[in-house]
Amino acid sequence: MEDEVVLLDLWASPFAIRVKIALEEKGIKYECKQEDLFNKSHLLLEMNPIHKKIPVLIHNGKPISESLIIVQYIDQVWNHKSPLLPSDPYQRSQALFWADYIDKKIYGIGRRIWMGKEDQEEAKEELIQTFKTIERELGDKLYFGGESIGYVDVALVPFTSWFYTYETCANCGIEAACPKLIAWAKRCKENESVSKALTDPLEIYGYLLQLKKRLELQ
């Protein structure tokens, strides 16, 4: 029986991009359904009734939510190629730790930057410190996953499309502060799975400006 794989998506979401990169890495064919977060589909509300958020992966009718949980699911089910998580339990624990760190920090701090309120300066400092910490973890490796992209690379790389927004909104100086991270981002884009899935930084900037207006009106 052929697998039926559907992704409930929002083109701008870095969380959905993680899933797309994982699916591409594994060579999985899937159907992508765009959602409107201000007008959610019945399917989304049925498949993720608790959080009502994207991404949701629907595999043969069964939903999986939360982007990193989805990526782990994909890695386990389609284990014939491109392993994203290391097999060694300790290496694996470190990968889980760093992806979780990225989840705890980047989106939230970044949001305080593009929303442009009184805490923007403070958020800018925090963002740079966070990227420096992540850069130290990368060290001299080609990727967080070692010789090829892995779980942590997949978790972080979608946010590189947002660097333009962070720079334009608050002049963060990411490139000057974290040159190795910038080099890593360029290297990631040499992988087709990443270049296919990443969003255009200018389009993201436009999207976030619109989103900010909408949120302020609410």
Binding site: I64, Q72, Q76, P89, S93, Y101
Partner: protein, 220 residues
């Protein structure tokens, strides 16, 4: 080589307690180091430089931080009495609920405990919504893991020993008869020997949370 397992925690942290339960479930010998968070040891700061928090598991000198990461590590390293199922969908479900507790349920109940006025009312409403989801998930099961406890049970486990402490301190019962399945689960869970024999002393918890409550709700 002899195994060396150390667990840095505090006597009361629910995040450390879930790790204790996992280690006990698998029969793993370990050294517990109870930290004083107002005076963290040099070792803790060395082993968890990113967050400087407990719990930290140190296995043969290698540190692992963040309780959910630690639980997955324990399950992969020691295969007896697994806490995660093999089936990928079931595994994803356990992870989903563990995350739900840590990111939604626990913070909402904590806010209901610590906040005042309108914020408190909102936190109570959110907690009740979150509890309804959990009640629904448990229907037809003894434990979140089915017949035996799993990751989600260990993570929700703090409800079984701390909710009654919160209720005693605040005089407010949040898990009431509206949640019969959850109440039944809490009882079943507490009766398990590895849980029952590994709980922080109730009276000491009441004193601690009473003091914290007074700090958040200073008498006017």
């Amino acid at each position: 080589m002899a195994e060396e397992v150390k667990l840095f925690k505090t006597w009361s942290t629910p995040f450390g307690l879930r790790v204790v339960w996992a280690l006990k479930l698998k029969g793993i010998q370990y050294d517990a180091i109870d930290e004083d968070l107002s005076n963290k040891s040099a070792l803790l700061l060395q082993y968890n430089p990113v967050y400087k928090k407990v719990p930290v598991l140190v296995h043969n000198g290698k540190p692992i931080s963040e309780s959910l990461v630690i639980l997955e590590y324990i399950d992969e390293t020691w295969k007896q009495n697994p806490i995660l199922p093999e089936d990928p969908l079931e595994k994803a479900r356990e992870r989903f609920w563990a995350k739900f507790n840590d990111e939604k349920l626990l913070p909402s109940i904590w806010d209901a405990f610590t906040k005042e006025g309108k914020e408190r009312e909102e936190a109570i409403a959110t907690s009740l919504e979150n509890l309804k989801f959990v009640e629904e998930e448990l229907k037809g099961k003894i434990f979140f893991g089915g017949e035996k406890i799993g990751l989600a049970d260990l993570v929700f486990g703090w409800l079984a020993n701390l909710i009654c402490v919160f209720e005693e301190v605040t005089g407010f019962k949040i898990i009431d008869e509206r949640f019969p399945v959850l109440l039944a689960w809490m009882q079943e869970f507490l009766e398990l020997p590895i849980i029952k024999d590994n709980l922080p002393p109730h009276d000491k918890l009441v004193i601690k949370y009473q003091a914290l409550y007074e700090k958040y709700h200073p008498a006017k």
